[in-house]
């Protein structure tokens, strides 16, 4: 077996955890794992894919009236590429620079291109899995309802395969120089987090601000979701955007035109990939040369420790402080936390409104109630999207023995993790509320209840995440991204969506029964509080049982 193939095999085994350490029985118990994993992926992704299929089915119908149904293809490609770019930044950082296996690989007689190639294939495979449940339903939908010939299906598969290459190459073109030129910096981790976030933000701004040439579409003239479609597809109709070529390859009726557009799309992707590989070859090893350690102060300077350094805290506060320090100082944790709590809501808000935000007229108690409920729902959803709670135990990794050894109950330790998990939703909720106040001119009297309702709903959402992680923690990781990107986060998100669905159903039932508009948010608040108390008790009991077992 060639070194590259052998390395690739090991990388995949590590990523999928196909080789659990089974004392005394090497090799046994391995076969069921990939099957279970695939099943878990399918179960987790299916509701999302069905939902996308249904929503885009309706969008297709509306766009068909104006002959613009091919816009859903552009949305699929553009959306998929945006996700790949965003997560690609983190996957690349994590796989290339923060993986624990580098210290084992570097001393081996492997060619740089073997290491780079194997890691890139691993990242690419991860991206295929990430975008599949989002992009595949739309490609299938268009194939079923609008495909003009047999060529559509092989081209759709080819577009899906090429789709992540371009944004991944762009991510690599950002990451490799960033890591190279911050390698010697004293606070390189802070630089790297800031640089990665800045890159994602710049891309976000370019996507939605610069590339959108058309003016806003009046909200009163068209259906809201047609506006979303237009806002997103408008981006793609700007000249020189590869997703337009990909969409044209699938939508054009002439095989020659379709193939030509696909070749353009594939050629640009290949060109950028070659540039990325060249940069990787040149800068990857120099980037690691700085190590991924924190900038170390000069030792032996006889620094005197002040009395303040020995300040005493309660065990609960000590645990919260420890959680927060570790989270904020681990670049991959922080990047994922910031992305889910700030970038994704921001993307959602910008994407939803495009450049067509108008002050929302809250001229009736009913419309005010709906605005409060929707804003609160977005805050709760942000908590569900955040990996902070659903990875709280997993993030401890091999240092989990410390938590087990501490003379503190599992309940107390989980309480600290709950408090820490609510820090991000709290800040995100304030940002979202501020955004609503500033941009949509929602009055304060409507925004503040939304903030409180959203935070009340965030408590059970975070508790559900903690329960899921406590039941199935992943402590055997050497790459922090693996700790934070497990299936627990997906299950926690699904749980939050179910919880929001129940809350929405309750709200609708109350409205239908003629409840006074002010009463509806109050009852939803009580529902969230009740759920929070119940789940807190479950969490406490479970922690007492699980901590000694894990």
């Amino acid at each position: 077996m060639s070194p590259f193939i052998s390395l690739l095999k090991v990388q995949f085994e590590q990523a999928l955890r196909l080789s659990p350490p089974k004392r005394g029985r090497p090799g046994k118990g391995l076969t069921w794992r990939p099957v279970l994993l695939l099943f878990a992926v399918a179960v987790a992704a299916l509701p999302l894919s069905i939902g996308i299929y249904a929503v885009f089915g309706q969008l297709y119908t509306v766009l068909q009236m104006t002959g613009q149904q091919a816009a859903i293809l552009t949305i699929a490609v553009a959306g998929g590429q945006f996700i790949v770019l965003l997560f690609g930044l983190y996957y690349l950082l994590s796989t290339f620079y923060y993986a624990g296996d580098l210290q084992h690989l570097l001393p081996l007689p492997l060619r740089p291109r073997d290491i780079i190639g194997a890691k890139l294939v691993l990242v690419l495979a991860g991206e295929y899995l990430t975008v599949f449940p989002l992009v595949a339903p739309i490609l299938v939908l268009y194939g079923v309802r609008g495909a003009t010939g047999w060529l559509y299906w092989p081209l759709a598969l080819a577009v899906y395969l090429v789709l992540p290459v371009l944004p991944l190459a762009v991510s690599a073109i950002i990451i490799f120089p960033l890591m190279r030129f911050t390698a010697g910096a004293k606070n390189r981790e802070a630089f790297r987090v800031a640089g990665s976030l800045l890159a994602a933000l710049v891309y976000l701004v370019v996507r939605f601000a610069v590339a959108s040439p058309g003016g806003p579409v009046s909200g009163r003239q068209v259906q809201p979701w047609l506006r979303i479609g237009h806002a997103l597809s408008g981006v793609s109709w700007a000249a020189f955007l590869p997703q337009q070529w990909a969409a044209a390859a699938l939508a054009l009726t002439s095989p020659g035109g379709a193939l030509a557009h696909f070749l353009l799309f594939a050629a640009l992707s290949a060109l950028l990939l070659v540039i990325a590989l060249l940069l990787a070859g040149k800068w990857f090893f120099r980037g690691i040369a700085g190590g991924h350690g924190a900038g170390r102060g000069r030792r032996g300077q006889g620094k005197t420790v002040s009395k303040a350094a020995f300040k005493s805290r309660s065990p609960l506060m000590a645990l919260v402080l420890k959680e927060t320090r570790v989270f904020f100082r681990t670049p991959m944790f922080l990047l994922n936390g910031l992305t889910s709590s700030f970038l994704l809501p921001l993307m959602f808000l910008i994407g939803f409104g495009g450049r067509g935000w108008r002050p929302i007229p809250l001229d009736s108690p009913q419309s005010s109630m709906v605005a409060v409920l929707i804003a609160a729902g977005v805050i709760v959803l942000t908590t569900g999207l955040s990996p902070v709670s659903a990875t709280a135990v997993s993030r401890e990794g091999k240092a989990f023995w410390i938590s087990k050894h501490l003379p503190l109950s599992g309940r107390e330790q989980m309480s600290a993790k709950l408090i820490h998990s609510l820090i991000f939703p709290l800040v995100a909720a304030i940002v979202i509320t501020f955004f609503l106040l500033l941009v949509t001119k929602v009055p304060v009297w409507a925004a503040v209840p939304a903030l409180f309702l959203g935070l009340a709903g965030s408590v059970p959402a975070a508790e559900a995440g903690l329960i899921i992680d406590l039941l199935h923690p992943n402590l055997e990781w050497s790459d922090p991204q693996r700790a934070i990107k497990g299936f627990n986060g997906i299950f926690a998100l699904l749980t939050t969506i179910v919880m929001l669905g129940i809350a929405a159903a309750a709200a609708v039932a109350l409205v239908i029964s003629g409840a006074w508009p002010v009463v509806v948010p109050v009852i939803i608040l009580l529902l969230f509080l009740l759920l929070g108390v119940v789940l807190y008790r479950v969490l406490g009991s479970l922690a007492a049982k699980r901590y000694p077992e894990v």
Partner: protein, 238 residues
Amino acid sequence: MIEFYKVTKSYDGGGVRAVDELTLTIEPGEIFGFLGPNGAGKTTTMKMLVGLLMQDDGAITVNGIDTLKEPLAAKKMIGYVPDQPEVYEKLTGLEYLNFIADVFGVPPDVRARTITRFLEQFELGAAAGDRIQSYSHGMRQKLLLTAALLHDPEVLVLDEPMVGLDPRASHLLKEIMREHCARGGTLFFSTHVLEVAEKLCDRIGIINHGKLIACGTMEELRGHGQSLESIFLELTEE
């Protein structure tokens, strides 16, 4: 005092008996060395004692407190250093020690005194403000030893504590171990360095395939004038 009574622990659904009906008592003021080949059950025994693993059967008590029935009370009396120095890498050494002091309820003046003393003795003072991720294996080991001693525990459990330590630190650790027992503390430690066990321990236990196959003072084990190495090799021969 540490007491194991018919303690059994199996892995892999009972397929592998890591510890098999272990019965052992370690008295206060005693340094007890735990020897055995790799995979013999030393680390599993220690992990059960400190609450990282639960035994399948039998009972473990620390100063009369059952580790399963009152785990928190038992943990408060134990200082533990694992075989692998895995710590929160993103904290500084000082932050980690303060964290441990907070959860073990060590008063500020006592912790300031103890931390300063051990950091100085282990020559870690200059690195105390650095993140642990920049520490060498030996420095992490020293940090964990300091953390284990911080709350002045009655029972010290050290799993191969000499690994990674430089000769000076190793010498210092032996002094600390003797002092701890001279004050009436109990010390249970594992090692592969037979010379250390021979010189330091009041009693030695040898475990193999989960069973305690020999236990006693050096004189008792020696019997026929053999060295500890010969005894070890003879007893653990497959």
